[in-house]
């Protein structure tokens, strides 16, 4: 009887799937209590469990181990020979804000203005962005989506890669983005003279100090008047950072700029800070470690920043920072929506010196901790959100396939436009008459 039900259920699922397929951009997720059995479980925080079970009930992890009792009626996915990992977190994307980078009207990450912290990424996240399914079928389940451009570019948001409204996707963290005045060059189109770069950077720092001073004054007024100071959106947006309630994400890359940023943060007594980018972090790793400020670095697959640097410095950077005692998360960084490559960025960090365990943490529990959501995400532990994936081997290896993805207990359809094109065109019909 149970077998028959399963068959009927399965057939119904197929029919539903086909119907959905023609109606929506992608098939629906499934929500059910499910036990993932016989798996090698990489908990990240509590070691590896061989031949174990992960029990998902009401979207949460209800049991982990070799001795989990499975309630009657729970669906079972046999994971024999497979591995379970917590969903990977890419701490630096513009997912949902960017459809095609060269087509301006499809990009929403770059509002006009130098000081616009009030611009909220979460507002503009398109839940149906084509890159979202492409990313999540690879096991990347959660992403920080970041506005760029200007100095204080806006408010970044942590989102889960499933949901129908930005609020459904919201994963519990927002942070203000500061592009710290920089003295590096942005690609081969940046043909400014050294002098112009220096001047621009000095001007930007003066302007930043000016804004910050205003924000501090505004915060005092705001406290004194109990929030009745009038409408100053950009200053209002900075108040939680000034009060040490919200994180400031400070993007900075060259060694000199990193040093300057550390000094600035100390001077201004900014309490919650994460450094992002940090391409030349290895050059000043001890200094960063001493400050105790954590780092989100990447992409790892980059060129060295200077001609005279060793060829593999970008690959080695994350490992060198970690070695110096810095708390390091790894992001993928991509101009072409390839956030699915996050595990390969971590893998390259390992190939060039980082401890494998640390690299895995750098894309799971560390970003979860940095964003204050480690009670829900980043590891396989009882009570946490069932946001995880099942795969055939080491997720850093390109041979490995991801077979299942769960986000908040929702089992994701393992399709994206890229898999659909494969299915349609592998054996095209009609082909060519021979």
């Amino acid at each position: 009887m149970k077998g028959l039900q399963t068959i009927i259920g399965f057939a119904a699922a197929i029919v539903c799937g086909v119907v959905m397929h023609t109606q929506a951009q992608s098939p629906k997720g499934k929500y059910a209590n499910v036990a993932l059995t016989n798996a090698t479980i990489e908990t990240v925080t509590k070691g590896t469990i061989q031949n174990g079970t992960v029990l998902i009930v009401d979207g949460k992890i209800a049991g982990v181990g070799t001795n989990v009792s499975i309630p009657a009626g729970t669906a079972i996915i046999d994971c024999k020979g497979k591995f379970i990992y917590p969903g990977m977190i890419d701490a630096g994307t513009n997912l949902g804000l960017n459809e095609i980078s060269a087509v301006a009207r499809t990009t929403d990450f770059n509002e006009i203005g130098e000081v616009i912290p009030q611009m909220k990424a979460l507002t503009a996240v398109n839940p149906n962005a084509s890159a979202i399914p492409v990313t999540r079928v690879s096991g990347v389940t959660t992403a920080l989506t970041i506005p760029t451009g200007g100095m204080l570019s806006g408010t970044a948001a942590l989102i889960n890669l499933h949901g129908y409204t930005p609020d459904q996707m919201y994963a519990g963290f927002e942070g203000i983005v500061l592009n710290f005045p920089n003295t590096g060059r942005r690609g081969f189109f940046d043909r400014r003279t050294d002098d112009d770069i220096k001047k621009a950077s000095e001007k930007a720092l003066a302007s930043l100090n000016d804004v910050w001073e205003k924000a501090i004054q505004y915060q005092k007024l705001d406290s004194a008047t109990k929030g009745k100071t009038g409408y100053y959106p950009e200053l209002q947006a900075l108040v939680p950072v000034i009060r040490g309630e919200q994180t400031l994400l400070v993007e900075t890359n060259t060694s000199k700029d990193i040093t300057a940023a550390l000094k600035w943060v100390k001077e201004k007594k900014v309490k919650k800070v994460i450094l992002t980018g940090v391409a030349e972090g290895w050059r000043v790793a001890d200094e960063i470690a001493k400050s105790g400020i954590p780092v989100i670095t990447g992409g790892v697959l980059e060129l060295p920043t200077r001609d005279y640097d060793r060829y593999d410095k970008a690959y080695a950077n994350a490992g060198l920072l970690k070695k110096a005692g810095v708390k390091v998360a790894i992001k993928s960084e991509s101009a072409n929506n390839n956030y699915r490559n996050l595990p390969y960025h971590a893998g390259f960090a390992v190939a060039y010196g980082m401890n494998k365990e640390d690299a895995l943490k750098a894309i799971t529990i560390i970003p979860a901790e940095l964003f204050g959501v480690a009670d829900k995400l980043g590891s396989i532990e009882v009570g946490k959100s069932a946001t995880l994936f099942i795969c055939t081997g080491d997720p850093f290896e390109t041979k490995t396939n991801v077979s299942h993805v769960f986000i908040d207990g929702w089992q994701m359809p393992m399709v994206s436009r890229q898999t659909e094109l494969y299915d349609e065109f592998l054996k095209r019909d009609p082909g060519v008459k021979k």
């Binding site: 940046d190 001609d307 593999d312 065109f425």
Partner: protein, 460 residues
């Protein structure tokens, strides 16, 4: 100009002239030899003499005076070939006209670029140094070997490699010329037209010369020769399959168009570059013997790559198209082995198939498969030695050897590998990647067009 340059450089130093003929001797001991064409050989030695592979066998005794590298526990594979790159060049786009076959990258090779050494660090030994994609018919390209350390630009050229030329379809030529300069092509219709027009004129040109050459032998002939045009000489060579077309393309419709143009003009040798939607016309590509050189997974950076799939290489391979994976990028070229590995996730290619994408297949596309692209006796001594399997994420190139000479040694090389120091460059000059750039590398050097008033007016 080219001759002048050659003269200048060859008179510069005797050392550089000697470097040009520099070929090495080497014995690589006891590695897992991945031949590509003849399977894997465990615990096997490879002997290189005078820059060529002379023996692949177990327990080859070391000849006197030959350097021995112990590759025990490591993987020995042929040097990786990138069929689409713009490194080692001082000029990429002659963006002044939609048709510029008269220019050639061989005149602007820059042997000093640090990018050459960095590519060696990723196991690359041969590179197709290409003209950019601003023009429908761009300039001629140069196949080079990464003989880093030479000061003579000519020392990098792969002597005797077939001539190749860059073509470009779609957004880049239409925005450069239609939008940028207000001349045809502004659309894909225009791109087809300017190519057909150029070929038709070249046909007339070579017919006029044939007629003249025939007539001038006749008694009493008094006609004048047709006007000489290097542009039409090059185009005629394309029509006669003396030059391989490497055609930048993305969308299936434009690929299909170019296949028809080739058919109509009797052109047999064409390799499509990027060819993101090649998977949609894979049967047509295979039927015509056209080849494809693709990205592993790049997409979504502009509209014509929006409907891409990372399964492209697998679909093309399964349909019988000779396919390679290229970089078009100074960073990505450092890990083409990793890019090839992605075809195992996206389409389950075997190790042999995946590694062919970066060795023997690009060699076929450049017409150099009898010389490089596999480890076989008689072939050139271009070898990479990997710690861990090259398709593993943990694979790290340890030695890169070109013509039997070690050009990269991970353990021994110093950090700073520049050949020269630019006195104008400040020590503090850091180059960061432009994350939000909407321009691809193929358009380097065409900025002057894209910054033009007309271009910006058209963009509104």
């Amino acid at each position: 100009m080219k001759k002048l340059l050659t003269l200048f450089f060859s008179s510069l130093t005797l050392v550089s002239v000697m470097a040009q003929v520099d070929k090495g001797n080497m014995l690589i001991k006891n590695g897992t030899v991945i031949t590509i064409t003849k399977g894997n050989l465990e615990q096997t030695d490879v002997l290189i003499r005078d820059g060529k592979i002379v023996q692949i066998a177990k327990n080859i005794p070391a000849p006197a005076g030959v350097r021995v590298i112990d590759a025990t526990g490591q993987y020995v594979m042929p040097g990786i070939i990138d069929a689409h790159s713009h490194i080692a060049l001082d000029g990429i786009n002659e963006g002044t006209n939609p048709i510029t076959p008269e220019v050639s990258e061989e005149d602007v090779i820059n042997p000093f670029q640090i990018g050459i050494y960095r590519a060696l660090g990723g196991g690359i030994t041969t590179v197709h140094a290409m003209h950019g994609s601003a023009n429908a018919i761009g300039g001629q390209c140069e196949t080079i070997k990464l003989r880093y350390g030479n000061f003579d630009p000519d020392a990098l050229k792969m002597e005797g490699a077939p001539r190749t030329i860059k073509f470009a379809l779609g957004e880049n030529p239409t925005r450069s010329h239609g939008e940028g300069s207000g001349i045809v092509p502004r659309t894909r219709m225009g791109v087809e037209f300017v190519i057909r027009q150029a070929f038709s004129e070249a046909k007339e040109y070579s017919e006029a010369w044939s007629k003249y050459n025939k007539n001038k032998l006749m008694k009493g002939f008094r006609g004048a020769p047709p006007a000489y045009s290097y542009r039409h000489e090059v185009l005629s060579d394309i029509l006669n399959d003396k030059i391989i077309i490497h055609c930048h393309s993305y969308r299936a419709d434009e690929i299909y168009m170019m296949l028809k143009v080739c058919k109509d003009f009797g052109i047999k040798r064409i390799v499509f570059q990027h060819v993101n939607e090649g998977f949609k016309v894979a049967p047509e590509l295979a039927a015509q013997g056209a080849m494809a050189s693709v990205f592993s997974d790049w997409w979504a950076y502009k509209f014509e790559v929006y409907y891409s799939t990372a399964y492209n290489a697998a679909i093309l391979t399964r349909n019988g198209v000779v396919t390679s994976i290229n970089s078009d990028d100074a960073e990505m070229m450092r890990h083409l082995y990793h890019e090839a590995g992605k075809t195992q996730k996206y389409g389950a290619l075997t190790d042999e198939e995946a590694l062919a994408l970066i060795t023997i297949n690009p060699a076929k596309q450049l017409g150099i498969e009898s010389r490089v692209g596999s480890l076989e006796v008689g072939k050139e001594g271009d070898v990479v030695i990997f710690k861990n399997h090259p398709l593993s994420i943990y694979g790290v190139p340890m030695f890169t050897i070109v013509d039997g000479i070690v050009r990269f040694d991970r353990e021994k090389d110093p950090d700073d590998m520049r050949l020269v120091v630019d006195p104008k460059q400040t020590i503090d000059n850091a180059m960061l990647r432009d994350k939000d750039s909407d321009l691809d590398h193929c358009m380097e050097g065409a900025e002057f067009i894209l910054d033009s008033e007309l271009f910006n007016a058209n963009k509104q």
